[in-house]
Symmetry: C2
Subunit: 411 residues, 2 copies
């Protein structure tokens, strides 16, 4: 059953940890503590609460950031559900990206000074008032970039940039297929494609978003119809680059749509998990259902298949320098006003449930941001409540996977 917005709002007012009733919600009085979103266990929205945590202090090589804005990604929903490979232990503070101001630095932390405006990648713990993270994950931002823009910039634009220009080698005259074209990655992909002459972007999105994003996507398709014949009607030879955040049967479809010398990139697997809660087995089952690829077939067909996980690159594979190079190139494009992150809406930490519901319901166009200094009153940059397809409270959807939304892994 759908819950009304007011009902959810009432719930979130109760979200603050009741054990600490004397601490005001929106002010930092005790510098030994800070507010943070905490995931108490894997599951539904009710596993999230805002509570006080000990103030972190920077270790050697770390930067301490007074957080202004945090990015919310589809991946955060997957983390909440525990539907990721090797999930960490709960309780934990979610979040992989934020922006803010450098408050202090640890020993041997060169290159940053107190007061620097920065954006940062964080291996969990971004959704807090204060974050400490190694300097390799921190990047200074331009004076004219707002903190919400910066938090919307890091993961999505870096992922889109590295996929298009480093994995797939996007060049003049090529064509790109991207799913969830209205999402944050989709919008980053569209903008980056527009920096290269004569690039055709095919995109899928919910119909209610088409009007809002039609300027950024050459050919838009309803996400509920099969995109393969739609693309082939326009481009019988297929496309040069397929960016797939869905996985499952879409892997085969994507490979089919590739032109010779084309590149398919899997950067998410949301079909495996959307709407499925706490089910390791459903994940494992889907894993094996993905069509495996014979390298000799790639040889015969002159095709490229790739996978891209920015978080694995950053936090498991030592890819900081590669990411740093991408960030520099992206900031140069930002300075030239060729790209600009699209912020869908701002939410207080206490509104994280509504924000997650909105991303689950695919209501967003662009990025959802947790605004750490915001009071819990929704401010929608683009209210799509009336046209959104799903209004149900997610907790009640377990086991009902019909008509589930397909969302990007990193949005």
């Amino acid at each position: 059953m759908a819950k009304e917005g007011t009902e959810i709002a009432e719930e979130t007012e109760q979200m603050m940890d009741q054990k600490e009733p004397d601490n005001p919600v929106c002010a930092v009085i005790d510098s030994k503590e800070m507010r943070a979103v905490v995931l108490t266990g894997f599951g539904g929205l009710n596993k999230l609460k805002v509570t006080k945590k000990p103030m972190p202090e920077p270790q050697e090589g770390e930067v301490k950031i007074r957080v202004k804005a945090c990015g919310l990604n589809f991946l955060d929903l997957m983390v909440r559900q525990g539907n990721i490979d090797n999930p960490p232990k709960t309780p934990l503070v979610p979040g992989f990206e934020c922006s803010g101001i450098v408050e202090s630095v640890g020993e041997n932390t060169k290159g940053f000074e107190i007061g620097d405006r920065v954006m940062a990648f964080v291996n969990y713990s971004a959704w807090a008032e204060v974050v400490c993270t190694p300097l390799d994950f921190v990047h200074k931002i331009p004076d004219d970039m707002t903190f919400p823009e910066a938090a919307a910039f890091s993961m999505n634009f870096v992922a889109a940039y590295m996929m298009l220009f480093e994995v797939a080698n996007l060049r003049e005259g090529m064509s790109v297929l991207v799913h969830s074209a209205g999402g944050a990655v989709g919008q980053a992909v569209s903008q980056l494609c527009s920096t290269v002459p004569n690039v055709t972007v095919f995109g899928t999105a919910s119909p209610f978003k088409h009007e809002a994003i039609k300027h950024s996507v050459t050919h838009l398709f309803d996400r509920n119809v099969d995109y393969v014949p739609e693309v082939k009607k326009i481009s019988p030879d297929g496309v040069d680059i397929v960016l797939d955040c869905l996985c499952g049967e879409n892997t085969g479809k994507g490979l089919t749509l590739l032109k010779p010398m084309g590149t398919y990139i899997l950067y998410g697997s949301s079909n495996m998990v959307t709407g499925e809660t706490k089910s390791f087995f459903s994940f494992a089952k889907s894993w094996w259902q993905v069509e495996k690829v014979n390298p000799i077939k790639l040889y015969e067909e002159n095709k490229v298949i790739a996978g891209f996980s920015l978080l694995n690159l950053l936090f498991k594979q030592g890819g900081c320098n590669q990411v740093k190079t991408a960030v520099q190139k992206l900031l140069s494009l930002y300075d030239q006003k060729k790209i600009k992150p699209v912020v869908d809406s701002l939410w207080a930490l206490e509104e994280v449930k509504e924000a997650m519901q909105r991303i689950h319901d695919r209501g967003n166009i662009g990025k959802l941001i947790l605004d750490v200094e915001k009071s819990p009153t929704p401010l929608m940059a683009n209210d799509s409540t009336e046209t959104s397809e799903a209004g149900e409270e997610e907790e009640e959807q377990e086991g009902d996977n019909d008509n589930k939304e397909r969302m990007p892994f990193i949005q």
Copy 2:
């Protein structure tokens, strides 16, 4: 048993079709006929002979070329054995590349004039005195490029270029692993890598070639030892690009050696067929033995796997324009004296058996060329008879696959 060079030479003197004893071997008297190498059926060297064929005339859109030099590739040995997918019917004239002078053009064949010096891709039939091929496959060559250089240039440099710069996106500071580093593709790869600052080339080659090619390869390994630990000793993180012409277990090895964001490219499958004659089943068996790749594993590991077949791109997939772009860029590098095809040796058409034996025995450093105007007396640019590992006549090796040579699909 090994046959002496003189024995083979005596055989080749008998190669001319005995049905036409009155026609001199090396002169074109009757303009209605031309000399060509003919493969009479799939099998060993004895299936090759030089004979007269009707003079071809250019159809609409075709260029008629008086051939000066033809390239010999490992692929030609596979064709001879019938060890390719969907082999054509015999008798046929082998050969996929040549250089020469435009003798005439068909109707609607713009851009070429009689007397133009050209190189061309041909879908079989290159090993002849005259070739007709569609203009899309023909490229003008610089005045200072010799015909043997041009014939050595087309397939190998285009393949190396497209793999390095279009599939794999080679950039400053990267590392590349290439097998058969002394072969024609290997030499093209090394030269192209040297056009990018600070690229490390790891190569495998027979030890006797090391001295000759050490200037072009950063780290050379004996092709008879396992290269994986050797590469890891020098670069524990692995390499950015693996070019594999071997297939089989090397696919898994190559993927293992890749750094995150690295690209593995399969461009040949010589392990499947070298030394195995006319065995479709051994081919099919090997096909299924190749490790298939789960896209989700690529996602987790941030890896790219690709296949590249220049001939399929050209003749089955309409990739002429992509190839044309690559040729233009390569000719510009040639003009700047940054690359120069390495010609191993020149052979008369009647010496095609010795030439094939040399490529089979891995005696070559760089490209073997059939010089159409040459008389049947071997002129070795680099004679390595004494150090070559294998001297046996190939016909007698059937069923004996121990110590077989590993050769690139396109060399």
